[in-house]
């Protein structure tokens, strides 16, 4: 892996979104990943619809939570994702109104990624932003800087929030993951969370995945 990487500066990441009072982080994590994959394969950055997943992914539970792995299947089975403009976010479940004619991106498959953070970094630098799930300990009060909670307080087994790895690097010799969150720009560092990289902090390496666009 290169020593640092940031997909934001390469145009592969849309602006930070806000899930509102709804546990739909899984949908934002997956659309963020697909946005990146589509950009890398097709050269166009499109902001994609989370609401489509809330309404039409019948395996997941909309605002009550969901899993990225199920969401990839839903996107594949539905026939793609519409854009944010065409199927805009409401923050609560509605009747599915997906239209195959309006789908602007598709995915062919999805893959699970390594638990080795060095390999994850190498994969990210070459292939794009990664959907991950973490233990959100302390995030309610996070303001800035690199979070490095003690392991007993932030167990990798208690995963409860899905986010998007968009880069990594070092700040004053402290290695970090740059994480795009979906709580708006008025949280964290302009909507981003920085987490210590290298020791599986908060389970960041336990549920890494990506869509595949051929």
């Amino acid at each position: 892996a290169p020593p640092e990487w940031d997909w934001r500066s390469k145009g592969a990441v849309t602006k930070v979104k806000d899930q509102g009072m709804c546990g739909s982080c899984w949908a934002f994590s997956v659309t963020g990943n697909v946005e990146g994959q589509w950009f890398l394969k097709r050269g166009t950055l499109l902001s994609l619809s989370e609401q489509e997943l809330l309404d039409c992914d019948k395996v997941d539970k909309a605002c009550l939570g969901g899993l990225p792995s199920n969401a990839y299947s839903a996107i594949k089975n539905l026939g793609g994702l519409e854009t944010e403009d065409d199927y805009s976010y409401q923050g609560h479940m509605q009747a599915c109104s997906f239209s195959a004619q309006k789908a602007r991106v598709y995915i062919n498959d999805s893959v699970e990624l390594s638990r080795n953070e060095q390999r994850l970094a190498a994969w990210l630098a070459k292939r794009g932003p990664i959907s991950v799930a973490i233990n959100a300990f302390g995030m309610q009060f996070y303001r800035r800087g690199i979070a490095h909670p003690l392991r007993p307080l932030c167990s990798p087994w208690l995963i409860d929030h899905a986010v998007l790895l968009v880069g990594y690097g070092n700040r004053s010799a402290t290695p970090f993951w740059a994480i795009k969150n979906s709580w708006g720009t008025d949280w964290g560092e302009e909507g981003y969370y920085y987490l210590y990289r290298g020791s599986g902090v908060c389970g960041v390496n336990t549920m890494a995945s990506s869509a595949v666009v051929n």
């Binding site: 899930q19 009072m21 709804c22 546990g23 982080c25 899984w26 395996v59 997941d60 539970k61 009550l64 939570g65 969901g66 899993l67 990225p68 792995s69 199920n70 990839y72 299947s73 999805s110 893959v111 699970e112 990624l113 390594s114 390999r119 190498a122 994969w123 630098a125 070459k126 292939r127 799930a133 959100a136 300990f137 302390g138 309610q140 009060f141 996070y142 303001r143 800035r144 800087g145 690199i146 979070a147 490095h148 909670p149 003690l150 307080l153 087994w157 995963i159 409860d160 929030h161 899905a162 402290t174 709580w183 708006g184 008025d186 949280w187 920085y194 210590y196 549920m207 995945s209 990506s210």
Partner: protein
Amino acid sequence: APAQPRAVVARAWRPLDPELLGAARFALKMYNQGRAAGAQAVLGAVQGRVRREGQGSLYTLEATLEEPQCHEPTVCQLPVSRKTLLCSFQVLDELGKHMLLRRDCGPVETRVTDDGNETLKYVLPGLGRNSLSQDFSVKMASIFQKFMHTYNRTYESKEEAEWRLSVFASNLMRAQKIQALDRGTAQYGITKFSDLTEEEFRTIYLNPLLQSEPGQKMHMAKSVEDP
């Protein structure tokens, strides 16, 4: 072990009395240890409670400390905008000898505009009923007022506002503990979620399914160095 049964007295949070003030001053002295006279923090608002057992007393204190204005940027420990600290102390007094058992301090951003709106007026009586010291209540209410202003919060009733203020105060302490235990460079404090209980936050914003459901099986990606 004392021959007589121990008299155990635990008191609720209460306004400051000379005994608590003595413990707070001791905690401050420990906090300032090694500092030059002009660089010492001073005690702001204090509240506390005491638990007595045998001949010992355990003081649990929450206090604001005011750091002096720092005029030398290369040695300043805190930015000028964050010179108020919120501290939790535990002081043990055994046979008249004090010992500082715990000290957690973290900066509080207190750029409060005193625009005198109604919130402050009606949350204070509620705090009084909970036996918090008046100084501490005023300080906390001002910070809460700033939070409401920053994040455009309105509450439906006086009771709701009082409840949210108590949640907010408790969350400041939680944030401070998280700060004390973080090994990175992160700063924790007031965020737009500071008026939510932990349970509310988890229920509204987090995703419990991630740890409980197996999900679709995916095959492993080839690592990037594979041909």
